[in-house]
């Protein structure tokens, strides 16, 4: 389990979103909430994620609120700006 802000490109499952205020709400309503698969498309500050079919730009400050569990296949094909994570 690592913070989303430390992720390199690849997939991860969101396990926890810290905090209760409007920051957390902003994240959760865009799909960065427990149980969703997050694909880091481009690391950095801000980073680009792919969540529930959409690309989301996210500042590091907010990304550090999110705890994720990287998927097993993350790493090698990380740089491939890959296909949509199919939910089917």
């Amino acid at each position: 389990m690592i913070a989303l802000s430390q992720m390199t490109p690849g997939n991860a499952v969101c396990r926890h979103v810290d905090g209760a205020g409007s920051h957390a709400t902003r994240l959760k309503r865009l799909g960065i909430c427990v149980g969703r698969t997050l694909e880091v498309v481009q690391a950095g500050d801000p980073m680009i994620l792919r969540v529930v079919g959409a690309r989301i730009g996210l500042s590091k400050q907010l990304a550090s609120l999110v705890t994720v569990e990287p998927s097993a296949n993350t790493g090698s094909d990380a740089l491939a700006d890959g296909p949509a994570t199919s939910m089917q």
């Binding site: 409007s22 920051h23 709400t25 902003r26 994240l27 959760k28 309503r29 865009l30 799909g31 960065i32 909430c33 427990v34 149980g35 969703r36 498309v41 481009q42 950095g44 500050d45 801000p46 680009i48 529930v52 079919g53 959409a54 690309r55 989301i56 730009g57 996210l58 500042s59 400050q61 907010l62 700006d81 890959g82 296909p83 949509a84 199919s86 939910m87 089917q88």
Partner: protein
């Protein structure tokens, strides 16, 4: 569409004559506004609700069975209402907005290419139990990427009618109208729906539950190929690159600005000439011979009343007794003016004043147009993304960058574009500092000062411009920083932004937006401009000085000029007559309230190196800064229409009583600094008031900018004088 089970029938015998309210709801970037525009076209109006700074566009539609009032709510991601726009959308949906009745139905716009994501908001909206019709928009875009949606099954799952539509091509719109009409005029079925927040496996997180619900429904109704969005991903690799992205952004903006300035040139000239022609036509129309008082007075009174009424209508002012009295008193006053004064009021005050502001309308419209195209194309989100890190350093979000850039053409579109900033404090700070950035109305002043300082060296003159632009930018960023640390203290909301797929923007949308926003501008600023133009005209005209009462020195000079002119003929004589007239105009302005005010405030502005004539320029440019150039021309006896260099030559010759030059280096720099930083634009103030909902912020803007301009000009003048550049 399916025949969904009707479980609850509500009697629709409400206020039948009133059009039923239908709210258009949807995520941002779903083509919601395009769909609204398609359905309503030019019938849509921006509703002006007192106390609400959010634009709601509304239009009345004839549907089979019943008329409806369609209201386009701001796009929102959820009912959490984190921005003023979302708050209004939420209140409208809950029927809590004072000005709107409870909605009779909701038109929920979902993006067919992003159904799963859009279903999150859908789950919240459907829970409100309003009769709902889902418009599955962008269905053609979904077809293009081979996304297949089982519409009937989706309708069953959602428990409401689902109509696939394409706002771009118009596909499905008839069906949508029919379905809306039936939903409203018939028995208004309210259907039993599941409540995902409670029924689907809760981890104590309603967001997750809703997304799980959305995923379940999408799994059952949508088939899509493994990969979509490659095309956007590819472009984004360039446009969101920390280096290339910033470069691309600046390049694009440079191009947009080039287009704005070159395209605006022709209509601006046309407007300028048009107003000139109107002025001379009106001038010719007003009789020069004395007219029967009994005929003149009522006609002028009626005309003035009509113009005032038009002003009220444009500004949306109701005819209360107070406003009626104001119109009546104004009409009476104007009617008793001597014919010569009336002519001057109409030609110089009204037509000149209004024309002077409207001349910027082409630039404003073009800016709205390009901002809308960039927003629709999906690029704006990338611009905010790449500018985020830079802007955060001064405490502003990345989204503030585009408004700040727009303000370099005109602050007004910039202030309106600040609506994209969700956080109210961040938005307010951005609005407050925008007028510090160099707009095109300042350019005539910069040009004058540059010519005064370095008419021999274009390179040095260019430096004046660069310096002025930089001063504006630095002042705006520093002020933003200070405001964020003081009265608008608060953390800048960190970036989380959807990067929507790139789409071809709709020209129709852009044109409607331009029409809409420029009418908002004219409505809000138009009547104030008219009023202030008249007030400034009166200040510069009264008390009157007839030619017989010129101060002895000027009277002698004028007389001498005319005597000489009589002995000459042709152009030489005309030149002398003109010179005499200019002397008279100069004396008249000096005698007026404006002239006296200029002398009165002399002690205040003396430390800045301004003499009383410059003060008159500063006063007269209170409403529109570029006016200072023509006022200075009159004050220094040049007549109004003098172009560039003769004015500069004349100004350069001016001497103070002690024999030193008025426009020395120190005074020029101080004047430049003052005009970079001072507010001096009433239309901007009117728009600030509108966007922030209160005059308080407009006055704060005026106050801090005036103080800043004064202090900075003072420092510049005193320092340069001390360094020996006087």
């Amino acid at each position: 569409m399916t025949a969904s089970p009707v479980l609850n029938v509500i009697d629709s015998a409400g206020p039948a004559r009133e059009a039923a309210l239908v709210l258009v709801v949807g995520n941002p970037n779903t083509g919601k506004t395009s769909l609204f525009n398609r359905l309503t076209g030019m019938r849509a109006k921006t509703a002006n609700y007192p106390g609400i700074t959010v634009d709601l566009r509304r239009a009345r539609l004839h549907l089979p069975g019943r008329d409806i009032e369609l209201v386009d709510l701001p796009g929102l991601y959820s009912l959490d209402a984190l921005s003023p726009e979302e708050q209004v959308a939420k209140s409208a949906l809950l029927g809590e907005l004072d000005r709107l009745p409870t909605p009779a139905a909701v038109l929920l716009v979902l993006d067919a290419t992003q159904l799963e994501r859009n279903l999150f908001l859908a789950s919240e909206v459907l829970e409100l139990q309003h009769p709902t019709v889902v418009a599955l928009n962008l269905i053609d875009a979904a077809d293009d990427v081979h996304i297949k949606i089982e519409v009937d099954r989706l309708a069953t799952e959602l428990g409401c009618a689902v109509v696939p539509v394409s706002a771009r091509t118009g596909r499905g719109l008839d069906d949508l109208r029919q379905t809306l009409g039936r939903t409203i005029s018939r028995e208004l079925p309210v259907l039993q729906r599941e409540h995902p927040s409670c029924t689907v496996g809760c981890h104590g997180c309603t967001y997750s539950a809703r997304y799980e619900w959305a995923e379940r429904i999408t799994d059952g109704t949508v088939q899509k190929p493994e990969s979509t969005g490659q095309h956007s991903a590819f472009i984004d690799r360039v446009l969101t690159n920390p280096l290339l992205g910033v470069g691309a952004f600046l390049g694009l903006m440079l191009g947009v600005f080039y287009l704005i300035f070159s395209l605006a040139d022709v209509p601006m000239t046309l407007i300028d000439e048009g107003f000139g022609r109107i002025a001379s036509a009106v001038d010719a129309l007003i009789p020069t011979q004395p007219v029967n008082r009994w005929l003149w007075t009522p006609v002028v009174a009626a005309l003035t009343f009509a113009v005032t009424g038009l002003g009220y209508r444009i500004a949306g002012i109701r005819w209360t007794s107070g406003w009626l009295a104001f119109a009546a008193v104004t009409s009476g006053l104007v009617a008793v003016l001597p014919a010569g004064d009336f002519r001057s009021l109409v030609v110089n005050g009204v037509i000149g004043g209004v024309g002077g502001v409207l001349v910027f309308l082409p630039q404003i419209c073009l800016l709205f147009f390009f901002i809308c195209l960039l927003e629709d194309s999906g690029y704006m989100a990338r611009a905010a993304f790449v500018m985020e890190r830079l802007m955060r350093k001064v405490g502003l979000p990345g989204k503030a960058f585009v408004p700040m850039l727009s303000a370099h053409a005109c602050a007004i579109p910039g202030i309106m574009a600040a609506r994209v900033i969700e956080d109210w404090r961040d938005r307010l700070v951005t609005i407050l500092v925008l007028p510090l950035l160099t707009c095109s109305a300042r350019l005539p002043v910069y040009a004058m000062v540059a010519a005064l300082l370095f008419s021999d060296s274009p390179a040095k003159a260019a430096l004046v411009f660069v310096g002025a632009y930089l001063l504006g930018i630095v002042a705006a960023l520093l002020t933003a920083f200070v405001l964020k640390k003081s009265i608008l203290r608060g953390e800048t909301v960190p970036l989380v932004i959807e990067l929507p797929p790139y789409r071809r923007p709709s020209l129709r949308n852009a044109l409607l937006t331009v029409y809409d926003r420029s009418s908002v501008f004219v409505q809000n600023a138009g009547s104030i401009i008219l009023l202030i133009s008249v007030v400034l005209w009166a200040l510069a005209t009264y008390p009157k000085l007839s030619e017989d009462h010129l101060p002895a020195e000027q009277a002698a000079e004028v007389a001498a000029l005319r005597v000489t002119a009589e002995t000459l003929s042709g152009e030489e004589a005309d030149g002398l007559y003109q010179e005499a007239d200019q002397l008279v105009a100069q004396a008249v302005l000096a005698h007026s309230f404006a002239g006296r005010l200029g002398r009165f405030v002399e002690p205040v502005f003396r430390p800045l190196g301004f003499d009383w004539r410059i003060n008159v320029g500063v006063i007269s440019s209170f409403a529109a800064r570029e006016v200072v150039v023509s006022t200075l021309a009159i004050m220094y006896g040049m007549g109004e229409d003098t172009e560039g260099s003769p004015l500069v030559e004349t100004l350069r010759r001016q001497q103070r009583p002690d024999g030193s030059r008025v426009f020395n280096t120190a005074t020029c720099l101080s004047l430049l600094t003052f005009y970079v930083l001072a507010m001096q634009c009433l239309p901007t103030q009117a728009v600030t008031k509108r966007e922030t909902g209160s005059w308080k912020w407009a006055f704060l803007q005026l106050g801090y900018m005036t103080l800043l301009a004064y202090a900075a000009a003072l420092i510049v003048y005193q320092t340069t004088t001390a360094l020996g550049y006087a």
